[in-house]
């Protein structure tokens, strides 16, 4: 999974019919010190995340492993909201 921050929402009316009802969020990838990386990803929300929250995103075929996204054209899903991140080994 990757660490990211929700920075926005995507609305779309015309889309694959399997995706009706999905909540799409724009997630900016973060480094472990919470500084933003360049890349962003559009992910389907499965935990009720909102803008500004730090989340974990599962990518690839694993993104289809939720009740909602099963067999749907989805390759990124938000599956956790981060409370705390403890880096024990700094290099």
């Amino acid at each position: 999974m990757i660490l990211g921050k929700v920075i926005g929402t995507v609305w779309s009316t015309k889309k694959d019919e399997n995706l009706v009802g999905a909540k799409f969020l724009i997630v900016r990838q973060l480094n472990l010190d919470y500084t933003p990386k360049e890349s962003t990803v559009i992910a389907v929300d499965s935990v009720g995340a909102g803008v500004g929250e730090v989340v974990l995103v599962a990518q690839g075929s694993s993104a289809r492993q939720t009740n909602f996204t099963r067999n749907k054209p989805v390759d990124a899903v938000i599956m956790a909201i981060v409370d705390k991140l403890d880096i024990a080994i700094k290099e």
Binding site: M1, L32, S62, T66, T69, M79
Partner: protein, 90 residues
């Protein structure tokens, strides 16, 4: 499967229901010489590994197989702790 080192832990109270109870660890991917490659990822811990340990992990949808549940949105799972490793010198 890939080699990695656990460098920390992540707490998330709110997570997808089927993975409640599983610990998530920060993993720094390593190569055969135990040098860092690419940036850290987050992996689900299925064996009880801790920070500082060298482990190996599976990625993609195979990461769901070691879990006790049928479906879980997980793309990396720690499946073993490395006791020793031998790599032929180049």
């Amino acid at each position: 499967m890939y080699l990695g080192k656990i460098i920390g832990t992540i707490w998330a109270t709110r997570k997808y229901e089927s993975i409640t109870g599983y610990k998530m660890q920060l993993v720094q991917p390593l190569n055969g010489e135990l040098q860092k490659v690419s940036s850290p990822i987050i992996a689900l811990d299925t064996i009880g590994a801790g920070p500082g340990e060298i482990i190996y992990y599976v990625t993609a949808s195979e990461a769901v197989i070691p879990l006790d549940v049928d479906m879980a949105p997980v793309d990396a799972s720690i499946v073993g702790i490395v006791d020793s490793i031998y790599v032929e010198k180049k």
